[in-house]
Symmetry: C2
Subunit: 192 residues, 2 copies
DNA sequence: TACTAAATGGAGCGACGTTCCGCTTTTCAG
DNA sequence: CTGAAAAGCGGAACGTCGCTCCATTTAGTA
């Protein structure tokens, strides 16, 4: 079995520089134009050609995961921490969902992309789920074991539901995802 | 004040025929390719040019509302009927939401379009809400008055929440919007 | 310095939405 | 019945976007 011992030659200096520049440009453009901003715009802002862009991020999902990797990681790591610190497992779950919601809500269009069935975003969807689903599952299981949650629901379904509810905020001030997510959690909670 | 008494000349026969043909073609294409199928495809299937398409349906939202007008109307009319027939107002609300959900879930991509903040679909969004929001509000108010619902929530928010939860079904068999909507309703319900 | 592999960039292709306007068809007054 | 005028039609054409391809440039190395 080939134990990933390959040289993994270090990237050329200019390539590394361009990648950083692209990441910064993308982060900036995402804020103003959302995660589905034109590639050309990002490449232009970074001062590189589109060919260079695609060399670094073959897929839009690659770019998005790279831009938000830190926050996804933070969210993943928050799970066990919250579980240890909170009064009850259910409270830990609630707080984790809060953090997850904040993340989605502050990134313009990210929630939309996450739920899109377009194959372009399949990888993004997969990445989020692979990383976060186990974390959410642990919290959910703890809450169930504690008897705080009776409803039968999978972590995946819960996360997708929360993600979906985060779509479209900003369009209409009368729609607040957090309120609905609170209702959803209330529905999850065992009677009494 | 000009009392809309204008002649409103009846459409030319061929124009009326083309409109019907386009509607039929669109309904068919929507089933196989979703509501965001290429305009050219619909026009081709109807055997007309794209210019003709745009003459009849200047915006995609116009087409979608025309295609689904009957079902939207049926959903709107079901409100009062259910309220009169059901055991409790909350049960009426639940059944109405069921019908609304069925409608959204069976139309490939309709829920996505409904929540999209793209200005293309703004009219669609408006049409749905103008027609259905009062109906949902009446059901919700009845349930609140009966004491079955305590949570403070607007009909608009509830409808958008349900609509959002309907997004992405079909992609993943493990995600069932109805289950989450049931949880949401449980969360709406007053304790006990 | 000279060589090579990595990296670049932007022209170009196909798909799509949308507009525009010369041509065809329907309608209806006479 | 007839012949304009009005209404409708079609599809070429333009702008935008995602993505690919490859001739050229450049960083690392001996």
């Amino acid at each position: 079995m080939p134990t990933e011992q390959e040289p993994a030659r270090t990237k050329r200096a200019d390539a590394a520089r361009n990648e950083k520049t692209l990441l910064a440009a993308a982060a900036e453009v995402f804020v103003s134009s959302g995660v589905d901003a034109p590639i050309r715009e990002i490449a232009a802002k970074a001062g590189v050609g589109v060919g260079t862009f695609y060399r670094h991020f073959p897929t839009r999902a690659d770019l998005i995961t790279a831009v938000y990797r830190h926050q996804i990681e933070a969210c993943a790591e928050a799970g066990p921490t919250l579980l240890a610190a909170a009064e009850t497992p259910f409270e830990a779950l609630r707080q984790w969902i809060d953090q997850f919601t904040d993340f989605l809500v502050t990134k313009h269009g990210l929630a939309d992309a996450l739920q899109s069935d377009s194959s372009t975003f399949a990888a993004l969807h997969t990445y989020f789920l692979d990383r976060l689903e186990p974390v959410c599952a642990a919290l959910l299981k703890a809450a169930i074991d504690a008897g705080d949650v009776q409803t039968e629901i999978s972590a995946l379904e819960l996360m997708r539901g929360v993600g979906n509810l985060c779509i479209g905020r900003g369009t209409d001030p009368r729609y607040d995802p957090r309120r609905l997510i609170a209702v959803l959690l209330k529905g999850l909670r065992a009677p009494l």
